[in-house]
Amino acid sequence: MRGQFLFQEVWTGLRRNLTMTVALVVVVAISLSLLGTGFLFVKQVDNTRTYWQGRVQLSIYLCTATSVSPQCKQNGPATATERQQIYNDLLSLRSHGVQHVYYESQAQAFARFKQDFAQDKSFSSLVTQNEIPDSFQVKLANAQADYSVVAGTVQGRPGVDNIVNVQSILSNFYKLLNGARDAVIITAIILVIAAILLVANTIRLSAFNRRRETSIMRLVGASNFYVQLPFLLEGVIAGLIGWVIAAALLVAVKTMGLDALQQYFPYNVQLSLADLIEVIVLAMVMGVLLCGVTSFLTLRRYLRA
């Protein structure tokens, strides 16, 4: 079929039932952006997991002169012997999944603190090196399974202030995103069903509007492909317009939603541009398939001679 003629047919079709086309574009846009958002959440959780896989998962803070917890008040700041003892004990737990232990002195911790709060001078300038505790940073083979053994060994010992499990902070983040993901995907699935019905109805209306044309096309021997192509393209083009809107919404979800969310957590794992593009392309494939396949199946029912 000649491109210009085909384009003209598709354009007429889309314009003739404009209201349906607009409804279709909107529903496709929303359902695709929700699906995409779901995928972005999955990716965010995955990326955060991978990020922490290779890093310290357990921080064992030691008592300093300024520590306020009861056990530190009772035992006083950690002595060099206590520190050495804890270090040796942690190393002896290698068979229980301790992969790596290193000691972070107060000076190192203070430097890191100042770096983390570089933008918040008014706060960081109030804190002195003595107030930042030294600690053992432990990397575990499996943060969830090995945590209790390691924590049990050092918990409550003289010189140990408290143990912070990064996993417990992370699990809140995971829970939040997984919950949001489920909600978003369930809504998306409902909308996808609505989109499928809308595509089917739009195509059916379009086929009805153009029944005169299609009957003549059949009569003069246009192949099934030629008869169906304008309708198929109508569905796919509406889907693509919806996808473009969805893509814009997904960019907004990433930059204004997920990236902004990072500031509430003590680290910063942003999704890369490649991740975003991957999700947007996935949304396009789904949109085109959704509209194309539905149009095709509808046409098989309504364009029979």
Partner: protein, 229 residues
């Protein structure tokens, strides 16, 4: 060109078959009138040629093809070799004369240059010189039927099927329509025309096949419409 071999067509909802044991040979370049009262099976006959229906029994060959062995996706290619004209013209109301005729070529993927060359020739052939950009509602019934004939003929079909082409047209105008059909027939196109118009059949003196209750009751070369009507 058209060969029916003992063809029976029964519709499930009807007790009597629409066509019963019909055997017909129409040669290339023939002009055939198909006559008979309403419900005699004329339309079924035409629909069978187009493979819009399948025969219940018997074999049909059209343009050298055995229709029973023609797969569904090849049916469009059969229809490109058959032109069709109807009582109700079936023009596209939002396209002008030229566009209506060109449409038939556009949808089978003919190149634009070819369409620009061929369409004006055919529109002139059917006697619509200077009316290329008229819309169907601006034309008389006879002129609309000429457009329909141009559309049916523009792809140079081997067969032209006409289902009561003069049914909506006054007798005087009908003569013009028949002249166009005759002109098309003279180019070597086989014409099969179903009609109720006794005057036309009698004046043309062509082969007449008469159907009654789905059976052939008369097959005459150079025949007339028949005394019974």
């Amino acid at each position: 060109m058209i060969h029916f071999d003992n063809v029976t067509k029964a519709y499930p909802s009807q007790s009597r078959p629409a066509l019963e044991n019909v055997t017909i040979d129409v040669e290339k370049g023939e002009f055939v009138f198909l006559v008979g009262s309403s419900g005699a099976g004329k339309s079924t006959f035409l629909r069978l040629i187009l493979k819009e229906e399948k025969p219940t029994e018997g074999r049909i060959h059209v343009a050298g093809k055995d229709l029973a062995r023609l797969t569904n996706w090849k049916v469009p290619y059969l229809r490109r070799r058959i032109g069709c004209v109807f009582q109700d013209f079936r023009l596209l109301p939002n396209k002008n004369v030229y566009q209506n005729v060109a449409f038939a070529l556009q949808v089978i993927g003919k190149p634009r240059r070819f369409i620009r060359k061929v369409v004006p020739e055919v529109v002139d052939l059917v006697g619509l010189e200077g009316k290329h950009d008229r819309m169907p509602h601006e034309l008389s019934g006879g002129e609309q039927q000429r457009v329909a004939m141009a559309r049916a003929f523009v792809n140079r079909p081997m067969i032209l099927l006409a289902d009561e082409p003069t049914g909506n047209i006054d007798p005087a105008t009908s003569i013009g329509i028949m002249k166009v059909l005759d002109r098309i027939n003279r180019t070597g196109t086989t014409v099969v025309m179903a009609t109720h118009d006794a005057a036309i059949v009698d004046s043309m003196r062509k082969r007449v096949i008469e159907l009654e209750y789905g059976k052939i009751v008369r097959d005459q070369s150079r025949g007339v419409y028949g005394q019974a009507y």
